[in-house]
Subunit: 475 residues, 2 copies
């Protein structure tokens, strides 16, 4: 019912006058219509009958080839036989639950966690234990203590769910030492880890960190195969969510079960969109792809289209990164201007989301109702990222899917509602609202991704206070 | 594991030299590539950004409009607000289980039932009770006795699953009196019925019969809304399985839950393919659509394309029906020639499948291995349509997805393997293989869809004998 009430509220965000910073939307307006028509024309000429027919459950070989290429760009080598093409990355989460979870089984996740995983975990009646993150992602020592406790209680987890890069919603990234340690823990205890990595290639600063899959494959010494990592990838954030194509890379016994469950779920993913993706990955950019803006993506259409030396998808990715980096900076600036001292927020080095936290006495679910009604602006209230009612004073803000003007205006509107609430609190209680530092201009991070940005640490500590508060309430 | 072994075997059918009568494939080679390119070009020009973006979970309004149009062609009026667009019809079965089934819960289905539902029911650990069909579909008196028994045992079903038209795999159709009675039973006992209707519009002779949904809506007197029927529809058989688009029409409280589960399963179905379908449904045929062959489908591309007075999708449907009717007749003729007296089979009045039954001593799972290895031909062994090991001497044959020459050659090859097995049995036992009547040339059927064709009755009685055999074995 919580999810359902949430959806009702979110459906209001579809009114045209609403500025929505709520969705997990990437920008799709920069994809050239001529390129879309060209790629579909190519599919039509070569494979109309195949596009319209059922495909194999595991996915078409031409699409798996693209996936291997994307994984290689993430520094991760995979065997095409260990790939399952899915209907969006979301389906991987669903299939993992379907394969592994009986009602009451435990999943360990981050706190906060991906709001879209919450209804899935709910549907399978999983018992989700969430580990508080700090600015370096999930603390593995805390994870180990939790695993010890769960084991003592006879309810060890079926899998650990993590988003190591630019986490949705918190925006934080797991440091390299923690990645190494997480893989060791998985191997020592023989626990599967679901590595959800939609945003890894959307890094706006700093060096990429190894995937858990590649670290486990190194340890496994089985020629690139991993023992305990189920990797979730998707075309949604590097190309388009509308194609509804993601993938799992998994150890064979797990892959076999995921495949069987996918058969029962939707038989196969769309050959229409699989062939579209394959055609897209064959395109080459014609020079100048990296020299700014959307030139790269556009250049694929003005001529032979296959005589450059860089894949078009990489050029398009570069253009998306420039666009999102600029939008992130606009949102950070607007937050500084309009949220001011009443809030703190993360400064993500990639991905789509900023996580902002308001004073404890503000409930962002109530705030959303007010923001929608009086200011026609939307965000995701923090509670959606928890299964236990925490997160009440936080919100997720998407900076990727809306233009800079709408970001400025949207944050200004939310800021107005926030200030009204803070003022109201002062009036009602006579108290002076607590000051809260904004983000630092540049979060320092060493080569292994370890952060020393106290503002992030401050933000992600917040839920712990809320947890205590929730505990007090439940007494 | 059974499903998995089956899949391994089925993957052999993808070798190019194999004639496969196994898949549930429609014919997609008659869809004009120029039309595909044209429709996609239209989507590109008007809505590239929307196509590539996430869509609403419930489906896009333009696609729901097409669904309402298809349902109207089935004589069934539905409210767009009661429609959920899904990732193929298969997803409706999955979502129904996800919404309603806890491990051990009961589902009542037909015997045999759709082989693709079997792994889904398995995945949710449902307890499936299958009701033997006869030539008029599921006998409702037998259903009622079963419901009484289940209720006495405290395990009343969460829903009843039926394919009333040209059932997959048996090819039989539920008569109108039984439809009326089934709806009464559902209303009296307040049990949901999942009406799976992919083939209703693919009728090659006789008059269409009312859907369960329309009968229940009549009884409910709520302006077209049904109380107890969840209707499953799909574009797979009237347009393309490759678009992976189906739908559910359900009473609101059920629809709400299906929507929530779909959110967790794959967020939304592909806007790329939804907009393609919407563009397709806007096309008009330019005269001559019904005057033979594929002219209708082709005519949509040779000109303005929107100045005819018949929707192109209906013209294309007519051309598919002519094609499939002819292929069905070719398969029936080939069965008479090559299976002869050793087998019996159904003569479906629509749909994609013929169900053939061989002497009891032949196990079609073994036969498939032999047929693939020595004759490079494939079918679906009957066991795949049961959850209890029955169906061992039957097979499902698809006549829709392969050309006439391949149908003749495929049936000839299977016939050869069958005759070898029959001969082997005679050699080993000294017994004379039993004669078994083939199908009648024309199955009589009255205006209410009641059949008087004894050959169908004979075929569908078979499993009962097998059941007794299975019971003997299990003692």
């Amino acid at each position: 019912m919580r999810s359902s009430a949430m959806r009702d509220m979110m459906s209001l965000t579809e009114r045209p006058e609403v500025i929505s910073l709520a969705g997990g939307l990437p920008e799709t307006r920069t994809f050239p219509p001529e390129l879309y028509a060209k790629l579909m024309g190519k599919v039509a000429a070569e494979s109309t009958a195949r596009a319209l027919q059922y495909g194999p459950t595991e996915g078409m070989a031409c699409t798996v080839k693209c996936i291997v290429e994307v994984m290689a760009a993430e520094g991760t080598s995979v065997d095409p036989d260990e790939v399952l093409v899915t209907t969006g990355g979301q389906q991987v989460i669903d299939l993992m639950c379907k394969t592994l979870i009986d009602p009451g089984d435990t999943i360990v996740a981050e706190a906060p966690t991906y709001p879209g995983a919450v209804p899935t975990f709910d549907a399978y009646q999983a018992n989700v234990v969430q580990i508080e993150m700090d600015s370096d992602g999930m603390p593995i020592d805390e994870l180990e203590r939790t695993l010890d406790r769960l084991q003592d209680e006879g309810r060890g987890p079926k899998f650990i769910y993590t988003i190591p890069n630019f986490q949705n919603p918190a925006g934080v990234t797991m440091s390299l030492p923690r990645r190494h340690r997480l893989v060791e823990v998985a191997r020592e205890r023989e626990i599967l880890v679901l590595e959800d990595n939609p945003y890894g290639l959307l890094r706006y600063e700093g060096e990429p960190l190894s995937t858990l899959h590649s670290l486990d494959a190194l340890a496994a010494k089985r020629g690139g195969a991993s023992d305990f990592i189920v990797y979730l990838g998707t075309f949604s954030k590097i190309l388009s969510p509308g194609v509804r194509l993601g993938w799992a890379v998994a150890p064979r016994p797990v892959l076999e079960k995921l495949n069987l469950c996918k058969q029962g779920a939707d038989l196969c993913s769309s050959p229409v969109t699989q062939l579209f993706v394959a055609a897209y990955f064959e395109e080459r950019a014609r020079g100048g792809a990296r020299d700014g803006g959307l030139g790269g993506a556009r250049s694929g259409t003005d001529g032979a289209g296959s005589n450059g030396d860089e894949p078009l998808w990489l050029a398009h990715l570069e253009s998306l990164k420039e666009l999102y980096r600029a939008r992130r900076d606009v949102m950070l600036e607007a937050l500084g201007e309009h949220f001011g001292s009443a809030a703190s927020w993360t400064k993500p080095r990639g991905g789509l989301f900023i996580w902002a936290t308001l004073p404890d006495y503000i409930d962002t679910t109530d705030l959303l109702a007010r923001a929608l009604e009086s200011e026609a602006v939307a965000f995701v209230p923090g509670r959606a990222a928890y299964l236990d009612g925490r997160g009440a004073s936080s919100m997720r803000l998407n900076f990727a899917g809306v233009g800079e003007e709408d970001i400025r205006e949207g944050i200004k509107r939310i800021g107005k509602v926030v200030r009204e609430q803070v003022g109201l609190f002062g009036t009602l209680t006579g108290a002076q609202p607590a000051e809260r530092a904004g983000t630092r201009d540049a979060a320092a991070q060493d080569a292994e991704g370890r952060s020393d940005d106290p503002s992030m640490a401050q933000v992600v500590e917040l839920p712990r206070r809320e947890q205590r508060k929730a505990e007090r309430r439940s007494r």
